[in-house]
Amino acid sequence: MIVLVIIAFALIAWLDVPKLINRKEWKDLIVFSIFYIFAFIIASLQAFKVEIPSPILGIQFFIEKILHLSYG
């Protein structure tokens, strides 16, 4: 699984990074890199079957237990 993740992300980098470097769009490259690295970390953790907490269940907890918003 991790091999597939690495191949997919290598493909993404190969598609977009050379264009950004050629056009000297450094700000775009930095933003791209941040999202790219974040996505790669999350995908790799999932490939290694590491349990990642769901943001939606976190929001649900915040709405119900902290804000006490519910329909009863």
Binding site: A8, I12, E25, F32, I42, I56, L67, Y71
Partner: protein
Amino acid sequence: MQREQISSSLLLFSIGCFIQGSTPLTSFLSSTAKKDAWIVVITGFIVSLPIIWMYTALAAKFPGKSLIKINDIVFGKILGKVFSAFYVFFFFSLCFLNINQLNGFISSSLLPETPNLAICLLFVFMCGWAARSGAEGIMRCSFLFIFITYAISILNTLLLWKNMKLVNLKPSFTLPFIKYVQGTLTASALPFCEIIAFLMFMPSLKDLQNVKKSFFVGLCIGGLTLLIVEIRNISVLGPTIHVLSNPNFEAIKLINIGDIITRMETLYAIVLITLIFFKVSVLFYVTVKAIEEMLNLNSYQMLVPSIGALIICFTMIAFNSSVEHAYWGKGPASFYSLFFEAVLPTITFVAAMIRFRKGREVSK
């Protein structure tokens, strides 16, 4: 790169199609309001009218400006970016929540042996491709999709005519009042007010005078479909409607005209997948476009693969089971969505009205 041009009629059809893409979400309404779900569709529609009016008023106040630019103008660079970041997360979350809904439908009804990841991967790839091609490309599809959806919805309703028992709609107003409030807010937040995403298309719009008409007529087209579908499902399925995870699919399964016209649910599944494809493509485009505008980037295309990968990851981790998703859709989802669809735009609207009163020009 040539500037994209969207006509007001294209916007109108896209909004209608976008709301039609929410038909699977009617299961949340029927599980809350049971056989009175059709009433909450109407009340939800009425409640969303002032909110939609507010969106159109913002669009009229800042002609040709997207939601992100409006935030920058109204709140300044720093606070505006905070508001924009909230919207980016909201649009992003709608992407993976809708794909999760589709995953649940496909794995429970069509392809039970296929892993969710495979469905999700292919689907996000298609949506990403559409988003990368631009707003005009996505929205041009809406005209075709909306007519196919209407044709198939009406055809299915006619074929189900003999199964429909309008007596199933009675008696009305027997549930506790809070259930109607819950249903109304869910109907308003989930299908209707999600069209806030279309404020991101304002810079590409050709005729800015017709924004109000496009929003309201589009809303009516989508709302009417949801109402027809809801009344049909309740009158066909009766009291069992609130226990079914996908009432539309189960209702259409019952079509049987002389043992010849059967298995119409496959046709419905194709339409549903097409509509969700449209909805997610719009949301995907809006997410990357919002990031581009928020961070003043030169292009959004290069963000599509990374955001697509994140959507896949978050779809897989969002819920542990379809029961959790159903619970989220019935309750917390309406509070969550209304924060972004009603609370934040109201703050923006009030702040805009105070800062740019009549006579004071919008500077940028």
